[in-house]
């Protein structure tokens, strides 16, 4: 497959796995290449109160240090081979997160919106099925349970194999 970055220049890649909260505005600002980036798309995921359990009050995210960063790097590079991207940023938190806190940020910039939208969705679909993170939900009554993988996430990842550039 030809390297789509040929016309977009060198890819700026930022992969962060961290316990600390992140600043979405700062993440967005550092993605833009002034004058070249015509489009930016991003996704931010938050802790919600309805998961496998009801009345979730917090989650704990476990991961596989080393493999996690490598998997996110591979996913970003796969996206950059499919679309002409200027920058990709993936920030994922670990440890205990309270209800409403941001878990994950994915941002991409490109010359055009279609590539930016598609690459952002592709990265999230791949992250959900390939990056070694595991979520445990904590409820107000003190109970806790590991979240089960969703069949829909696997299907979402598979559609990209069938249709190379669009879901």
């Amino acid at each position: 497959m030809p390297d789509a970055n040929g016309e977009a220049g060198e890819l700026a890649l930022r992969i962060q796995v961290q316990e600390a909260a992140f600043d979405t505005a700062a993440e967005l600002a550092q993605l833009v290449r002034p004058g070249q980036s015509g489009a930016q798309a991003s996704f931010t995921g938050f802790v919600r109160d309805f998961g496998d359990a009801r009345e979730v009050c917090a989650i704990t995210l476990e991961h596989y240090p080393g493999m996690t960063e490598a998997a996110l790097h591979d996913i970003a590079q796969d996206a950059a081979r499919r679309w002409p991207l200027h920058a990709v940023s993936i920030v994922h938190r670990t440890g205990r997160l309270a209800l409403g806190e941001a878990i994950v940020f994915v941002g991409v910039t490109s010359a055009h919106r279609r590539a930016a939208f598609a690459a952002c969705e592709f990265i999230m679909d791949m992250l959900k099925t390939r990056a070694p993170f595991w979520k445990k939900e904590h409820c107000a009554d003190g109970s806790a349970q590991w979240v089960a993988a969703r069949h829909g996430d696997t299907e979402a990842a598979h559609r990209w194999q069938q249709a190379p550039d669009a879901p």
Binding site: V104, P132, A149
Partner: protein, 84 residues
């Protein structure tokens, strides 16, 4: 042959173990054979044979049961991922 083995998420809770270093018998040469051998410890370890959704990694890359084992490998067993 020394192997470092890691267990993640619900698996490490079930097993009561998140990491160990082992020296398996010489007839254990593949990842699949290692998994069956570990399951043979019985008790909670049978989960390695019973749960067919478990994933395996060798040196931090997803690997298949027929992957050959080498001295010093880092092996991981884990449930399907649920990040994002």
């Amino acid at each position: 042959m020394k192997l470092r083995i890691l267990y993640f998420a619900s698996l490490h809770e079930t097993l009561g173990c998140d990491a160990e270093t082992i020296d398996p018998p010489p007839n254990i040469t593949t990842l699949g054979a290692l998994r069956q051998w570990l399951a043979g410890r019985g008790g909670p370890w049978q989960v390695l044979a019973e749960r067919d959704d478990l994933r395996m990694a060798r040196n931090q890359k997803v690997a298949r049961p027929d992957s050959r084992l080498d001295d010093g490998d880092e092996i991981a067993f884990f449930p399907p991922v649920t990040g994002g």
